[in-house]
Amino acid sequence: MEGMESVAQVTSSLASSLATGRILFLLIHLLGIVCFAYIVAKRLVPLLRAKPDLRFDHPWLRLGRVLQFWLGQWRQPRYKLAGTLHIFIFAGFILLAIRAFSVLLVGVSENFVMPGLAGKAGPIYDVITDYAATIVFLCMVIAVIRRVVFKPARYAVPAKFGKAHTADAVFLLSLIAILMLADSLFAAARAAAPAQAGYPVEALAAFSLPWMLKNALLSASLSTLGRLYFGAYLLHELTFYFLLCYRPFGIQFHVETSLFNIYFAKLDREILKPVRWGISDEHLDQVKSFGVKTFEDFTWKHMLDFYSCADCGRCSDNCPANAAGRPLSPRFLTIKARDYSFQHYPIFGPGKNGTALVGNKDSGSIYTEDEIWSCTTCGACEQECPLLVEYIDKIVDLRRGMIDDGNVPQSLQKPLKALESRGNPYGKMEKKRADWVNAKQFQQACPVKILDKTNGAGTLYFVDSITSYDDRMQSIGRATARILDHVGESFGILGAAERDSGHEVRRFGEETLFLALRDHNVEAIRASGAHRIVTADPHAYNALKHDYKDVPAVEHISQVIAREVSAGKIKFNPVANDSSVYTYHDPCYLGRHNQIYDEPRDVLDAIPGLKRVEMARSRDRSFCCGGGGLMLFYEPKEDQRMGVKRVQMAAEAGANVMVTACPFCMVNIEDAIKVAGLEGKMTAIDLAELVDQQIARDCPDLKARSIAAQASEVKECVALSAK
């Protein structure tokens, strides 16, 4: 055919059109990279001034978590729609990374082909990435529609926290969409070119974005295609570098920091950050100032957390304090700190001197005291965050700072003082701590040993303060003791030697008092000679397991009961009331913090005739009852009690009996039933109380036997009673 160019000529015509911009493109590359490097260096400055954080251990374990949470997007599916969208977007980004680099380099090195993609892999990769770009583009459209039309509640910004983030979100989403378009147009122009020479066009992935653009360009002239090719390249490059340099100014920085944030994430979520990494408990007097008072008191990892927040709002969406209308919103704890760091460590210009983080807004503080005291440390936020941002350590550190400065609400000062003087927050006398075992009938049926050097037992039942002193909760203590007795456990309690476990004392920032309580208890526990600890209090359980060192292994009573049920040592009578519908409320420190979800449920399901329903928010999505320990004394500013919300959730699930396995949950739930006006329609019972009530006690001799003999005797006894 006359005047027709070859494919090679057509391609080289496009290439030469691109080549005219080579110097410009190179300049943009250099400018973009230098700007990005400069910006990142500036962003690293506060991290260099931060407190130390020891996160360089267990590299393989950390890499494994990167695979799970970063590459595997493990947390994303917890919100189905947003999660699916993000998984696609993330996968698209990963797949397109190489393609993006290829495109960028083609502008300066004409025949550049990515190593590894020269042969058969090249076209396959192109097909994959054609679809990837299309999917990412579609996701951007859907995301913008979600933001602008459907406006999911968790993205909303309450007035006190500033203006809505919608505009910025739409801007960024649009830029990514433009990036995809530019990339697709670039490929489309090149693919369409051979049509001008009468040759079949380059095959692109059918129905992908580049494919659609290519079809639209089939009739375009070669010179038009050349201009489009050049323009698409320039647009791609500019958008790419603009995004690269803009990301560190907002929530999109998580694109770069997420991998590091997950790599350096805490391996053991339950070990609280020490006052200062690298300084042991014995040397704490060397530390001049406890806790976080100014921004630089945060560790570098905390600051990295602030950079890595994607503003998704899942934490606050699940925060019970937030739902109750308390001033706390975890998302904004992070966003405010991030904005603070951007303000005080700007990219251009001098930094500003820091002020106290907690205090008055007019003096530059970003947090109010109530905001920080409102947290029950339930861990719902940390459970949800796809980037593994840590909250509890920060709250505890901020509280340490306030305690150090003497800035403590009066409502908390009294129980703290009582804990110091009497070892319990109620100010009751130490010698009365074991009075609950002296209840007339109980003492005769189930005498409880007080352990000390001369009087030992294999198992220590650690009762803790509320079960020891509170009239209502003492029944949990007695029920627990009767259960241990029933299964033939040789056990005792510390009695007056026991002090509060200090679990909340530590989490409210009074580290010194906590260490004093802990040291006292550890000594008493060792003196008891017990080689095993059992408790019915999840806060005590958590403290003994994670905060205490050099103590015997600890179990929660639900674990003991579950084991004895499956071993056949505990048998149940059927429930008396047919109309009771039970639901199990997961206590935060048993469930979410220690993953004990199944044992209490197995126990309930072993009770004949017990009808059980699950609340919508259960297991690791359980909704905190309101908090325990010192939180019972704090007077929060809130719209509605957390407990009331929880009791309503139980009613919604169709239950009329709430079962829980924590004395603090019991306090809050029983209170809430009254406040919610559900008295008579809803009751609450502790798991130990329920088990104690339902245990089939037809073998009275069992108590006196040793554990070894019991196994065969239970069989005998059951066989006897079956006759």
Binding site: I403, Q410, K414, A418, S421, M429, E510
Partner: protein, 263 residues
């Protein structure tokens, strides 16, 4: 502004079960937990807030024995610059006026612009502040609920009256004020704070350092002597309302109105 706060270590009523001893002449003190008298703590906090704005120092002093040093240390951990123990066997058994006499002698050893006491010791008679002012011949105001430092060595103070009214007065320095609880929100002091001041020396002033003769104070000098100590007989107890919630609410409103709780 040099401020002296007179404090006292008392059995903590919220952390103790106050019971009579077997002899029936005092409370059982074996198992008691002591702490600073609540009103005195408010006074120290107020003093700290005043010097934070107006400059100066805060001295805390107590008449007692070695055991009482712990409250001095606690207030020093709170921020007081100096703690002083005023102790002598001759002081034992002093009545309120005796204590005021001892404190008067101590005040004369220094130069204090403002002297604060708590309104009442939890186991005391709300008298030392007034008596001290009289012995010093200083102006005195009691039940103070706010202090503002004015020019010309004056203070603007307020006091809450029964019925919720507030009375504002002006008083010249130097003066003595007795401080009512609730005047401020005292800062928290924990074990760590106390450890940090553990090494600071607390000087002790004896009778001879203050030039106090034996007859003026102590049991010998007491003009008011304790005769008896008893726990009142328990009354009937609370009235428990029976009935539905609505009925109970109506009854409570009735009772409140009848007893003058509602206008």
């Amino acid at each position: 502004m040099e401020i002296l706060v007179c404090v006292r270590r008392v059995p903590d009523t919220s952390e103790n079960e106050i019971q009579l001893n077997s002899a029936g002449n005092d409370i059982e003190r074996g198992d008691l937990v002591y702490s600073i008298n609540e009103a005195d703590n408010y006074a120290v906090e107020e003093a700290l807030q005043i010097v934070a704005k107006a400059g100066g120092t805060v001295t805390v002093a107590t008449v007692g024995a070695e055991d009482d040093e712990e409250v001095l240390r606690r207030e020093m951990a709170m921020g007081a610059n100096r703690g002083v123990l005023i102790s002598d066997d001759a002081f034992n058994g002093s009545d309120g006026r005796g204590i005021a006499t001892i404190l008067n002698a101590f005040v004369e050893t220094g130069h204090y612009d403002l002297i604060l006491t708590g309104v009442q010791a939890e186991d005391g008679g709300a008298q030392v502040g007034g008596m001290l002012a009289a012995l010093l011949d200083y102006p005195f105001a009691s039940l103070v609920t706010s202090i503002e430092v004015l020019e010309d060595r004056k203070l603007k103070i307020s006091r809450e009256i029964e019925g919720g009214q507030k009375e504002i007065n002006e008083i010249d320095l130097p003066c003595v004020l007795s401080i009512q609880t609730g005047i401020n929100e005292p800062r928290y002091v924990g074990m760590r704070g106390i450890r940090q001041v553990a090494g600071v020396p607390i000087p002790t002033f004896h009778a001879k350092d203050l030039g106090i003769g034996p007859g003026a104070v102590g049991e010998a000098g007491a003009k008011v002597k304790r005769v008896d100590y008893f726990v009142p007989v328990l009354g009937k107890g609370a009235e428990i309302l029976q009935g539905s919630r609505e009925e109970n609410i109506d009854r409570v409103l009735e009772l409140l109105e009848a007893k003058g709780g509602l206008k």
